[in-house]
């Protein structure tokens, strides 16, 4: 007699515990553009979407994807998804002459889907929106009685903005799907300036000067989307996200409470099987960040466009298992820049999928890996990066 085996989905609670533990606290800085405006937009995408150069909509297949709320309509069974995203970055600036390298890991997407009786598929997701973590160093000189003395200003910003969404998706007829989600922006940022006078030669201990503040973010978003399947060979989808103002409430009366306009985002995308085992996709996103610039005290913001396209060879195999191979390219404007010039991010993408456990046509557990090689740049600034994405999918609870 053997012990009853546990299905992969039985381990779902443990997986979600890991995800919850890693979630909001693990937003780590991965770009110098975190210091621009409200930070660097971080898309809640899974590894398959990234490896295909997609901007988050229109891929054939069902999944929990916050930017494509209708994509969960045909999931059918409960499931969960967790994405980890390490990246390695090299910075070179000709405007300030600085160079540097840094690395970090974030968890941009945690998602759960569960059938909601006859209403369709309910979804819950927790994902990144804006990454704000960075550090700044300034060497300065102060005049004391003993003469000019070198001091160091260190500025640390931690935290960022995340979003929790609850959604519902359902098929409409045999070819159409619709989905809607309501999101709540959350997160906080802690900004701390420390002036160290360690270089001052004095008899006793010199206290550092410290000034800072912490702000809690809040706001609401609503995303609606629809898609159309053409049999099993093509899918066309679109979505729109409306957001309320983002409120940043200061913990201390010494700091100002602030509000920021958030953009209206429009996305369209399509994918189609051109031949058995050959999937192509293209997608476009437009976000009206320009209005946010009016709320910034320093810097400007721009409306941005992102697009991407890619190919998936879905019949490839690895170790006797289905292992689709994916390549793509994507380009996205950045809403905030370092020196006021337009900034953008471009990347060549690639990746592979691996079905780890399946029952008939149903995949109980799978792993997707994406690798992106690209750069973020504006005049005087080039940031080369390698970014990995690793997504674990389980289903069948």
């Amino acid at each position: 007699m053997t012990a009853p085996s546990r299905s992969p989905a039985m381990r779902l609670p443990a997986l979600l515990l890991v995800a919850a533990a890693l979630g909001p606290a693990s937003l780590h800085g991965q770009s110098i553009y975190n210091s621009a405006g409200l930070g660097l937009p971080v898309e809640s995408l899974d590894a398959r979407t990234r490896s295909l150069g997609n901007v988050g909509i229109g891929l054939l297949g069902s999944r929990v994807l916050p930017s494509d709320p209708a994509a969960a309509a045909l999931l059918g069974i409960p499931g969960a998804v967790l994405t980890a995203q390490p990246s390695w970055v090299e910075l070179g600036r000709t405007d300030t002459g600085e160079t540097g390298s840094y690395q970090g890991t974030r968890f941009p997407l945690v998602g759960i889907s569960y059938p909601a009786w006859d209403f369709g598929m309910a979804t819950f997701s927790f994902g990144s929106v804006l990454d704000q973590r960075y550090s700044g160093i300034r060497n300065a000189t102060v005049d004391l009685e003993e003469g000019p003395v070198a001091v160091v200003d260190s500025f640390d910003v931690s935290g960022g903005i995340s979003e929790v969404r609850l959604g519902l998706a359902r098929p409409v007829g045999s070819a159409f799907q619709v989905g809607v989600s309501v999101g709540r922006y959350t997160g906080s940022t802690l900004r701390t300036l420390i002036r160290s006078l360690d270089g001052v030669s004095l008899t006793g201990t010199v206290s550092d000067f410290q000034e800072g503040g912490r702000w809690e973010y809040s706001g609401t978003s609503v995303t609606g989307g629809a898609s159309m399947n053409v049999g099993q060979i093509a899918r066309l989808a679109g979505s729109v996200t409306w957001s309320s103002e983002l409120t940043a409430q200061a913990d201390s009366e010494e700091q100002d409470d602030r509000t920021f306009d958030l953009p209206l985002e429009l996305r369209v995308g399509a994918s189609a099987m051109l031949a058995p085992g050959l999937l192509v996709n293209a997608s476009l996103r437009r976000a009206s960040w320009g209005g946010t610039g009016d709320d910034l005290r320093t810097g400007i913001a721009r409306d941005v466009t992102a697009y991407g396209a890619g190919i998936e060879l879905s019949r490839a195999q690895l170790l006797g298992r289905q292992a689709p191979i994916r390549v793509g390219y994507r380009s996205a404007d950045l809403p905030f820049s370092l020196n006021g010039e337009p900034a953008s991010e471009t990347a060549w993408t690639g990746g592979i999928g691996l079905d780890l456990a399946s029952t008939g046509p149903l995949v109980l557990a799978g792993l997707d890996l994406a690798v992106e090689w690209g750069e973020r740049s504006e005049i005087g600034v080039v940031e080369d990066f390698w970014r990995g994405s690793l997504t674990l999918r389980v289903s069948g609870l």
Partner: protein
């Protein structure tokens, strides 16, 4: 097959944990808040100080564990060292005729030598001096004795027959050359030893003095070497050493309290108490006013450093330090019961602020900075880190009381070199969202 998801989870965890986090760091000034301003402000005595009082009488010469000899030092100071020896050994161990050892409980103290160990480094003489030894025959109290009085306790004041224990019976004089050794020995006979052997007698002891005028000699310790004869074997003489039971010194004249200025140390020790008021606002320096406008309210978190700055002063020559002075500064916790107020924890650490002796002589006028950053910060907050009322008085004292007959002097209020309060503060920073 069922293990694959766990493997995948492990891979996921490994991929994330294996990456060491190094956040992006920029030196671009545009990504930092506006630069704060750091300035140094100097407050005069009138702006921060007050209530200066000098208190004598902390500790006694017997606490010091050493002695002083002087004769007309700097034309003023006379000092003598007094002592008593501890109990003599009750038994000695000798070999008997069989070669074994036996305890002899009836030893005979035939003769001895009083050793006076001197400190060449802390003494002023470079040339030989004549040291004298006398035997006391008057009741005296090591904790309270002074130049004038053998006993000076509450309810019992007995003057010396002659001031300075001058009525002692002379036992001899020896020449001490600091270039050759650090100890002088005085031979004493068995009759004198019998007198000192009675440790219950209060009218015995020794007095050590110096005949050579113009020098101040530091006595490190005294000892008594005994030649002990055995009753079991009269041919056997063993040596034994007795340490001191009491050691103190008396001197004249006792310095008068300073009419102005600050005094720290000495024996018994002097302490100086003063009020230090943290500034609630600043009206300078000009760089600060240009940047943030004056008057500027001072926030405790803006204080990077605060220090009391004193200027050294040459005190009476007879009492000028000949060794490093360790200054201590402590908050006065109950100024209403001064001079007996309890003091708080040291603001200068366990060693204190070390000041070389030359700064109280030819190098007088030197600035001595004593950090009081936390004291000032607490006062601006209104309470200490433990939630108690922030003190406003500090006591200046010697880290070890008493340490030496010499004391440190500083210029006081009203002088051109009066104390001042130095403050380095940083302000003008505002951290906001972009």
């Amino acid at each position: 097959m069922n293990r694959l998801p766990l493997v995948a989870l492990a891979v996921l965890a490994l991929a994330t944990v294996a990456c060491e986090e190094t956040p992006p760091t920029s030196v671009d000034p545009d990504v930092l808040p506006p630069e704060p301003i750091t300035v140094e402000a100097g407050l005069s005595w009138d702006e921060f100080g007050g209530g200066l009082q000098v208190f004598p009488g902390f500790g006694s010469a017997s606490d010091l564990g050493s002695g002083v000899l002087a004769e007309d030092f700097e034309g003023v100071l006379d000092a003598r060292t007094l002592g008593r020896f501890a109990a003599f050994p009750r038994t000695i161990t000798v070999r008997d005729s069989t070669g074994g050892t036996r305890a002899d409980s009836l030893p005979i103290f035939r003769a001895g030598r009083v050793g006076v160990v001197l400190d060449p480094e802390a003494s002023t003489n470079q040339e030989p001096v004549t040291v004298t030894l006398g035997a006391l025959s008057q009741v005296w109290d090591p904790a309270s004795t002074t130049w004038e009085r053998a006993v000076d306790t509450i309810g019992d004041a007995r003057p010396w027959d002659e001031p300075g224990a001058g009525s002692a019976r002379p036992l001899g004089e020896m020449v001490w050359d600091p270039a050759e050794n650090d100890t002088v020995y005085f031979p004493v006979d068995s009759a004198q030893l019998a007198e000192w052997r009675d440790t219950t007698a209060l009218d015995q002891g020794i007095v050590v003095g110096v005949e050579t005028p113009g020098e101040r000699i530091q006595v490190q310790r005294i000892l008594l070497s005994l030649d002990v004869e055995s009753t079991l074997d009269p041919d056997t003489v063993v040596s034994s050493t007795v340490t001191r039971r009491d050691l103190t010194f008396i001197y004249s004249p006792v310095p008068e309290p300073p009419p102005d200025g600050i005094r720290i140390g000495g024996t018994p020790s002097w302490r100086t108490v003063l009020q230090v008021r943290a500034p609630e606002t600043l009206t300078g320096p000009p760089a600060l006013c240009e940047r943030v406008g004056c008057p500027v309210a001072v926030d405790p978190d803006q204080i990077n450093y605060a220090a009391l700055v004193f200027r050294t002063r040459a005190g009476p020559p007879a009492f000028q330090p000949t060794d490093t002075v360790n200054l201590d500064v402590r908050p006065v916790l109950a100024p209403e019961v001064l001079p007996k107020s309890p003091l708080g924890a040291s603001l200068t650490g366990s060693v204190g602020r070390r000041v070389g002796p030359n700064l109280f002589a030819e190098g007088e006028g030197a600035e001595i900075e004593i950090p009081v950053t936390e004291f000032i910060q607490d006062q601006l907050r209104g309470e200490t880190a433990t939630g108690e009322n922030a003190p406003v008085y500090v006591a200046l004292l010697s880290t070890f009381e008493p340490l030496s007959i010499a004391f440190a002097s500083f210029h006081g209020p009203g002088s051109e070199l009066e104390p001042r309060l130095k403050i380095i503060l940083t302000t003008g920073a505002t951290v906001e969202l972009p």
